[in-house]
């Protein structure tokens, strides 16, 4: 076989990314191994997260040393993560589809580049800036005008902040592909007597369906993993499930970052191992969401067969 240095070096580089991914999974699996044994399968269904008494002598359960009274249950955080992300998607999709269609079809061609650049700019605003805006503006607004309890921190605030962060992601991907719909398709629909609305909804949107789903998956990935902005506005619930859209929640990512500090002072290390187990759960959730969306858009195999 011919020796191809260029091809080989590319192979090495392309293998690096999956290798890094495997290394992370392997690390999480090995590191959280003891936590798996101690927590069992109830980990995902239990409601109570308790680091135990870090100031008393550790006890030994099933041969594993843990702090007295430690109980690791993450249902609250799984529910918080899924709810806040899905509500964010519900808010963001109509907004971003509307914005993309406006930019592609209705915006005057002179201001279109300016507007689309502005939308792209919103996508690169650091999340902590959204968090600050949430704390300073959104939370007091919800507290004063919407929430019956007068408390603005919670599921709704987290979802709106997330929605604002992901709207430009969906809008820009959708706008790009709307602009690439062949002129002929558009014009023939007009020639057949379709209204502008029908042209967009019947001739253009079906062509960009898989891009739309791709954009949503990308956005969902960011929403599920968002940490700081959510931590600032979600109200940091623990041991309690949300009862309404105004209830405080916690997401997996924000919970990990808020607990790590205390977990590190656990002499048995079980708290950090359990946090690694939560990280694994978050990883599985994102994986499942991505796989599901790929399946929905059935675009999974399209990348490899270029015509």
């Amino acid at each position: 076989m011919k020796f191809r240095p260029f091809r080989l070096s590319l192979l090495g580089v392309s293998l690096l990314i999956p290798a890094a991914l495997c290394a992370v999974i392997l690390f999480l699996l090995i590191y959280s191994g003891q936590a798996f044994i101690y927590n069992g399968l109830g980990f995902v269904w239990r409601l109570t997260w308790d680091l135990g008494n870090l100031y008393a002598d550790p006890v030994t359960v099933h041969g594993i040393s843990v702090p007295l009274g430690a109980s690791y249950g993450i249902l609250v955080f799984v529910v918080g993560t899924l709810l806040s992300s899905f509500i964010a998607i519900l808010i963001a999709v109509p907004l971003s589809v509307g914005a993309a269609i406006f930019l592609a079809e209705a915006a005057p061609s002179k201001i279109r580049p300016v507007l689309s650049m502005l939308v792209e700019l919103v996508a690169v605003v650091p999340s902590v800036v959204f968090g600050l805006w949430g704390v300073a503006v959104l939370v007091p607004f919800i507290g004063r005008y919407l929430a019956p309890s007068g408390n603005g921190y919670g599921l709704l605030a987290a979802s709106i902040v997330l929605a604002l962060m992901i709207t430009p992601i969906i809008a820009t991907t959708l706008l790009d592909s709307l602009m690439q719909v062949p002129k002929e398709n558009r014009e023939s629909a007009f020639a057949l007597g379709a209204t502008h609305f029908e042209v967009v909804s019947k001739a253009m949107m079906p062509m960009v369906r898989s891009t739309l789903i791709g954009g949503i998956v990308l956005a969902l990935g960011r929403a599920l993993g968002e940490t700081m902005a959510v931590l600032m506005v979600s109200g940091g619930a623990i041991n309690i499930l949300p009862s309404s859209i105004f209830s405080p929640v916690s997401t997996i990512a924000s919970f990990i970052v808020s607990q790590l500090d205390s977990a590190e002072s656990d002499p048995t290390n079980m708290a950090v191992r359990s946090l690694a187990e939560i990280a694994l759960v978050l990883f599985l959730i994102t994986l499942a969401v991505n796989a599901g969306a790929k399946f929905l858009s059935s675009g999974a195999l399209r990348v490899s067969n270029r015509k």
Binding site: G150, Y153, G235, A237, I240, S258, D261, S265, P267
Partner: protein, 375 residues
Amino acid sequence: MREAPAGLTGISTQGLLIRNALVKLTHKLRRSGVAALALAAAIGITGTAHAATSLVETGSSLLYPLFNLWVPDFTAANPGIQLSTTSTGSGAGIAQSIKGLVQIGASDAYLSDGIMKKNPGMLSIPLAISAQAINYNLPGLNGKSLKLSGPILAGIYSGKITKWNDKAIAAANPGVALPDHVIIPVHRVDGSGDTFIFTQYLAFSTPSWAKTVDYGTAVSWPAVSGGIGANGNSGMVTAVAANPYSVAYIGVSYAAQVEKAGLGVAALKDKAGVYVMPTAANIAAAADSVVTTTPPDERISMIFAPGELAYPIVNYEYAIINSAQSDATTASAVQTFLNWALTSGNDMKYLSKVHFLPLPAAIVTLSKTQIAKIH
């Protein structure tokens, strides 16, 4: 290029020579574009002319403002030592000091027995005395200091007392028109020394809290509908200010922000049954009452201390130090800093800015004995 050497003004004659050489050099290299590079390298050389011992401090966000006041004066007095500080949280301060990543860990909480068993060489050395206020946002009542007790606060944070006009609160505050409104308890979501000392007050004053939740830097907060979590002391101030009818525990170093937000400060029931405010005199009373009982390793809680007017939520701010440092130079630099902090650093000109109090003389003696163990 013309302004470039200006950054080097203010250095010694030796530096001046280098500066002249640099100017010549930059003239020569101006066109080649490597002038900036050469300049940067030269600055690097002058910067390391006298090798300084570098110390790193990390941990408690409550201690951080004090360290910020200390560092410029300490390094001015000890040019041979470089000290950098970061605010990460007490848990991180403890963990990184044990791992040897930093020389000084800052913590509001002393090391637990579990950690001491695993790392017998670790020291908990008090640097100053701090306290915590219970703040609330009750429209119309923030000017009055509401009287609260450990059992009342435990009731609020465990969901047994849900309204401000609950009879337990009313009994402690006769004559105050308490609103018929749901209480919003606010707690810290991050690992926090403030959570540690607050939950310790509840645990020491209320047996049922000790049996269920107990104390720690992050506890398993009972499910209270409407209770919220906030991030950091500043997040607590924001959350209470934004939510009328809420209550929170906030470190005294944030007293200025609390006052600016117009929040109320509660008088707390001490061990003698008297309601006391977090004044300097009452905090000092609590500190004085544990001076004689402080053990040689200085790991002791000052929470709910005995004494007629002892404010119940008072604590030592600790430096968490590994007694075995990497080398003798580092060890002596750490000792120099700690001894400075206990003497010059305990001056009220630093402490009063963050509402801390100096250590009593007997505690300074104990701390110095511990500092002598560092090698």
